[in-house]
């Protein structure tokens, strides 16, 4: 009997997800746990498992389609079984009698699945298998707690165990998680507050500002990053004499695109140069699998009135220095104006954040999960350096690299920084043809 696989709901606020790629085609046999397709939300990229074993009878959407959650995306059944939309499917499961779908057949793009009438959905006896995230199934949260999660931008994964009867996640656990407080366990002895006290407020000495929009999303993503990765930061610096002189020379050019190239743009170009040499830095870590990306989709942190945004310079390895500079300016402006397309805010493989303009010597950037590292660029300042010529003052640029120790060890990160420093020091070489 044919089973519809539906677009999983990957979070309370997710209303739709984009199908990035199909991993099967109609006619393929697929195992229950095998990946059917890869999808992307505004927060993450996910694999959708088949959920049932069988033959792929139909793919109901194209790659790149934005599909509402809980809508059918594919149909899996017995080989040779025909499938058609509507209640007939369930009532007449003609197994192996009519023609099998040829392996080469196209996905049924035109199948009328956009808004199946609810009555049909009710009549069909085909079990609609939801490919849900396994982590959310082990836990139970009260309806009110789920509502609070969605309001406070907390994921169920953010809460290890609820404090309610039998570990039920209660509203107070969600509130605690959103405030990054220790989750009050019912059974664990605690020295400070009683569990009820989190809910009891003294006289109002503060203004309550609920997190909404980008702020809410940042809060959730940053907390998730900290809670799901093993972050550490290494600080270093690189000789910036040539960086400054190159920047000075570029600035003197008449072509405004060239004159507009900044220190930051040069640093990004250096990142694009170095990343392919350290593939683990241009990667995603998802559910125990490290995905090493060939192209460099470079995330660039941008400070906006609404909060931090990270637009993505796609396929930066193919771009010239001028192109990188122009693209970064365009994206940053769009972020400032609030006109940035959602597509431009997801899919980065490595992120650079630059606080040099604020005179920051070093800091500990937070990884833009599921990426594996983030490079913090600090201020350029004169530094005493021992050289063959004795002690001299040279301009150096600070670098703070946060890496996920789950996949990047300290020495490896140090080698990345060392190599990156060399590229910065000899930045001119980057644009020469030998």
């Amino acid at each position: 009997m044919a089973t519809k696989v539906i677009m999983p709901k990957l979070g309370n606020t997710v209303e739709s997800s984009v199908i990035l790629s199909w991993k099967v085609k109609p006619g393929d046999h697929i195992d229950k746990d095998a990946v059917l397709c890869e999808i992307e939300t505004d927060k993450a990229t996910m694999d959708v498992p088949a959920g049932v074993e069988g033959t792929v009878l139909a793919l109901l959407h194209k790659e790149g389609d934005d599909v509402p959650v809980l809508e059918a995306i594919a149909v899996i059944g017995n080989q040779g079984e025909t499938w058609q939309e509507g209640p007939e499917t369930a009532q007449n499961p003609a197994v192996g009698e009519t023609q099998a779908i040829p392996a080469a057949s196209e996905p049924r793009e035109s199948a009328p699945t956009a808004s199946p009438p609810p009555s049909n959905a009710q009549k069909t006896t085909a079990a609609e298998v939801s490919a849900t995230m396994s982590s959310s199934m082990d836990k139970h949260a009260s309806p009110r707690a789920r509502q609070a999660m969605s309001q406070l931008g907390v994921n169920i994964g953010d809460i290890a165990r609820g404090s309610g009867p039998n570990g039920r996640i209660l509203e107070r656990d969600v509130v605690a998680a959103s405030q990054q407080e220790a989750i009050p366990y019912a059974s664990a002895p605690q020295s400070d507050k009683g569990p009820g006290q989190a809910l009891v407020e003294p006289a109002q000495e503060f203004e309550e500002v609920p997190l909404i929009g980008i702020r809410k999303r940042i809060a959730a993503r940053m907390l998730n990053s900290i809670q799901t990765t093993a972050q550490y930061t290494e600080h270093s610096s690189a000789d910036a004499e040539r960086l400054l002189s190159l920047r000075a020379r570029l600035k003197a050019q008449k072509n405004p695109d060239v004159a507009g190239i900044t220190i930051g743009d040069l640093v990004l170009a250096a990142v694009v140069k170095v990343l392919p040499e350290f593939p683990e830095f241009n990667a995603h870590l998802v559910d125990g699998t490290l995905k090493l990306y060939k192209p460099v989709h470079l995330g660039v942190a941008v400070d906006t009135p609404r909060g931090l945004m990270v637009p993505v310079v796609r396929n930066a390895q193919n771009l010239s220095l001028t192109d990188i500079s122009k693209e970064v300016k365009r994206l940053a402006q769009a972020c400032q104006n609030g006109t940035i397309a959602p597509d431009s805010l997801s899919g980065s493989t490595f992120t650079v954040t630059n606080l040099g303009a604020y005179g920051i010597d070093q800091f500990t950037p937070v990884i833009n999960a599921p990426e594996t590292a983030i490079l913090g660029v600090c201020t350029v300042r004169p530094t005493l350096v021992q050289t063959d010529a004795g002690v001299e003052t040279r301009m150096r640029i600070g670098l703070s690299l946060t890496s996920n120790h789950q996949v990047i060890d300290g020495a490896y990160a140090a080698r990345f920084l060392k190599r990156f420093g060399e590229v910065i020091a000899d930045i001119d070489f980057l644009f020469m043809s030998f």
């Binding site: 309806p143 404090s163 009867p165 509203e171 009820g196």
Partner: protein, 818 residues
């Protein structure tokens, strides 16, 4: 317990022999000239006519039930048809003796009574009265059909109306006398004195008594007959009704001007069978049913046996009894023998009687016999009889054609049924005349006592005042009652120890001084008849307040509450009103049979309103609400609260009239972390729990007093739950089957997305109520509520439960049935 009637030992210990009054058996002797003078030739012919109408009508129904068709008209009547073929003379003879003002209440086998009583009344009303009655009924809907049937004069039009209205009712049609809401076993037609027929055996006995009380107390003309069967003599409520109708006080204590005993005739249509049980020789032991009268009062209830195969014998007996009843010397009893030739119902194969027996009664057929009698006396010829039969048949045929036509004669819809479950009228006085009162103002000792009391329970510093200086919950009920007694001249109250004693819990203290006898009296210990007579009083047009001293006695009035008070408004299609307040006091301390809260039982019955105040302010305001309405209200009162002062309304209980908005629960303490909602006395334990939660565990509890069971407005409760996300429900009713589970289920449906935990219900243990000293292990205590919160909703830090309230424990209890 009046002091004016001393019990003298010397008197009651004297020896002697009790003489039982003689009971006549079939002593009537026909005298044609006398009867012709009494009824006229036309009246005698009318009796025969009506007997044939009843016979033909029932034969038609029997044919439909057994053959699915009659005279070529096919129709499947799915409902019941309890026929009385063979009993026509008895019902027609009775009806011939009655006026439209006389009421008859009947049984499931009452098609004949309806037809006979209505035909008789139609003849006795002049056209100027008759036509408007028919035109007004159901906005003229039924009459519209009658007019489409052939007719030659007003009476034949009325015959159309009666035959069609009854048949359409049996076939559940919207144009039926009761819009199809009553059906075969409950059809009736008020304006002609045909009152509700009752499908519960003997069910009409105490209701008819109430109707007779209404006539007596409100000085209305006519008598009331309870037409019940011989087998109902085995029913408790019949005995209760006969006992209560025979109380000495009508003669010894009620003022002479009241007119004496309620004018009720208990007429037993004695067909010798109760379904298949033979009352004569098998299931009863009275020998002659009329004998029972001798056991009830010194007049032997003026009982006699009368030959129900002779309409003249029956009419003669009823006329004589009516005279006695109008003199206030009732009650009366008739043992009207008759015989049901048809089966109990069409499925009856008569396995309990022989063919020969049936044949012998057929040989005594009343119609053949009475036709012959009229012919012999020269007032009827064969041709005239044929014409009569033909006319009847044509009327019946036309009525059947209309009433079986699905298109011409539709049924009511669900919205209509919903609209008649309650009447929801607001009527302060049911009749516009002065109320009879004695001391009802400042001269009343209770009024004076209340005037000395503080109407708020706390002093200026928030400290409780002494109980005996505070206006109590019982005072609130009293004040409201007194107000309505003054307003509504029809209002009367009765129950056990209501007068002199002032009610077992002193709610009525002062009413003895305020009210003359008929308006407040002590009843026999007959819970069924107490409530049942209230039902009859209310549906006849008066306002009644009856009392059950303990909720545990509610079982004794089960039918009257569950089947009668609750259902008659809807079964009459809203034509009857039921302004009846049933005060039910919920006990404690007295163990298993005096301490149960049975609110769930009444909550389960559609048609009842159920109120349960827990504060003096509410007790008064809700009693005003109950006594200004027209619906049956079960008014629950907790004995734990009678002396409770008002703690919530800071201005105290108002002296003036006010009503609590119906169905709306009240917030007694605001809070934001959890809602605790209760019924009755549990409120005060919930407040204690809230205090502990707040002071020791920093949990802010909102406490709600649900106070209404039906109708109930969920919105305020859901609003509270939306805020707090958590709900505990508590009451003193045992947990299993508690109405709180209905509340819980609905709140979980209405507020699912706001809930942080499933709703918890805390009730009394599923045990017998133990002794007073052990009640704290039985009734919900403050710590039970906190334990349930800790175990099932919101674990509290450092809290150790003292009772088992876990889900697992609940499962265990259910497994064990406790």
């Amino acid at each position: 317990m009046p002091k004016s009637l001393p019990i003298e030992p010397n008197e009651v210990r004297k020896s002697g022999t009790l003489k039982i009054a003689e009971i006549p058996i079939n002593q009537y002797r026909r005298n044609f000239e006398q009867e012709k003078e009494r009824f006229g030739e036309a009246g005698l012919l009318a009796m025969l006519h009506d007997m044939i109408v009843v016979r033909e009508f029932e034969t038609m129904l029997n044919t439909f039930k057994t053959m699915g068709a009659w005279e070529g008209i096919e129709y499947n009547h799915k409902g019941p048809a309890h026929l009385s073929i063979g009993q026509e003379a008895a019902v027609v003879g009775q009806a011939a003796a009655l006026d439209p003002d006389d009421f008859i209440f009947g049984s499931h086998r009452s098609h004949g009574e309806i037809l006979a009583k209505c035909l008789s009344a139609a003849r006795k009303l002049d056209d100027a009265k008759l036509v408007p009655v028919m035109e007004a009924w159901l906005g003229g809907e039924t009459f519209g059909y009658a007019k489409r049937m052939p007719h030659s004069d007003t009476f034949s039009l009325a015959r159309n109306f009666i035959v069609f209205g009854t048949l359409a009712e049996i076939f559940a049609r919207k144009a039926g006398f009761n819009r199809g809401m009553g059906g075969s076993m409950h059809a009736f037609f008020l304006p002609f004195g045909s009152m509700p027929n009752n499908a519960i055996v003997g069910g009409s006995a105490d209701i008819a008594l109430g109707s007779a009380l209404f006539k007596r107390i409100n000085k209305k003309p006519g008598i009331v007959i309870a037409n019940i069967g011989d087998a109902s003599m085995g029913c408790g409520p019949v005995w209760e009704a006969m006992t209560m109708a025979s109380m000495d006080q009508y003669r010894t204590l009620w003022p002479e001007s009241a007119g004496g005993a309620p004018p009720i005739l208990f007429n037993f249509f004695n067909n010798f069978y109760g379904m298949g049980g033979q009352t004569n020789g098998e299931t009863m032991g009275y020998g002659v049913l009329a004998r029972v009268g001798a056991g009830v009062n010194p007049d032997a209830m003026h009982a006699e046996r009368v030959d129900g195969l002779d309409p003249l014998a029956v009419a003669d007996a009823v006329l004589r009894k009516k005279k006695i009843l109008l003199e206030g010397k009732g009650p009366a009893l008739l043992d009207t023998i008759t015989y049901r030739i048809s089966g109990h119902s069409p499925s009856d194969s008569s396995s309990y009687r022989t063919k020969e027996e049936i044949e012998e009664w057929q040989n005594n057929d009343s119609i053949a016999e009475f036709s012959k009698y009229l012919m012999e006396n020269g007032i009827l010829g064969e041709a005239e009889l044929g014409t009569m039969r033909e006319g009847i048949h044509r009327t019946l045929f036309e009525a059947v054609k209309l009433a079986t036509n699905e298109d011409a004669c539709p049924r009511a819809d669900g919205r209509f049924i919903e609209s008649v479950m309650y009447s929801n009228k607001k009527v302060l006085k049911l009749e516009d005349r002065a109320s009879e009162m004695l001391q009802a103002g400042d001269d009343n000792p209770r009024v004076q006592s209340i005037a000395r009391r503080a109407r708020f329970a706390l002093d200026a510093d928030g400290k409780p005042l002494p109980k005996n200086k505070v206006y109590q919950l019982r005072d609130g009920i009293f004040e409201a009652l007194l107000y309505h007694f003054k307003q509504d001249p029809t209002m009367a109250a009765w129950g056990e120890e209501n007068r002199d004693w002032g009610g077992a819990f002193a709610v009525y203290r002062g009413l003895t001084e305020a009210l003359p006898y008929p308006r407040l009296f002590n009843s026999s210990i007959s819970e069924g008849a107490i409530v049942g007579s209230g039902v009859g009083y209310a549906l006849s047009g008066g306002r009644a307040v009856v009392e059950l001293m303990y909720c545990d006695f509610l079982g004794r009035a089960g039918d009257e509450i569950f089947n009668q008070a609750s259902k008659w408004q809807a079964m009459s299609a809203g034509l009857l009103k039921m302004p009846l307040v049933i005060r039910v006091s919920i006990g404690n301390k007295y163990g298993a049979q005096h301490s149960q809260d049975w609110s769930a039982l009444v909550a389960h019955i559609p048609g009842l309103k159920v109120y349960f105040p827990a504060t003096p302010y509410d007790a008064k305001g809700m009693m005003h609400l109950a006594l200004s309405g027209t619906d049956p209200v079960v008014f629950l009162e907790s004995q734990l609260l009678y002396d409770m002062g008002e703690q919530f309304e800071k201005d105290g209980v108002p002296q003036d009239y006010y009503e609590i908005p119906e169905g709306v629960p009240a917030v007694r303490k605001a809070g934001k972390d959890i809602t605790i909602a209760t019924y009755g006395a549990t409120l005060y334990r919930a407040l204690k729990a809230a205090q502990i939660l707040e002071e020791k565990y920093g949990v802010s509890a909102e406490v709600m007093d649900l106070r209404f069971i039906a109708p109930f407005d969920y919105e305020p409760l859901v609003e509270s739950v939306r805020k707090t996300g958590r709900l505990v429900l508590a009451s003193d009713a045992v947990e299993r089957g508690s109405f709180l589970h209905t509340i819980a289920s609905n709140v979980q449906g209405l507020a699912f997305d706001w809930l942080d935990a499933p709703v918890a219900v805390v009730g009394s243990r599923n045990w017998i109520t133990p002794a007073a000293e052990m009640e704290s292990i039985y009734f919900p205590q403050p710590e039970w509520i906190i334990d349930a919160i800790h175990e099932r909703i919101l674990p509290l830090r450092g809290y150790t439960p003292s009772t088992a309230q876990t889900s697992q424990e609940i499962a265990r209890r259910y497994r064990a049935g406790v």
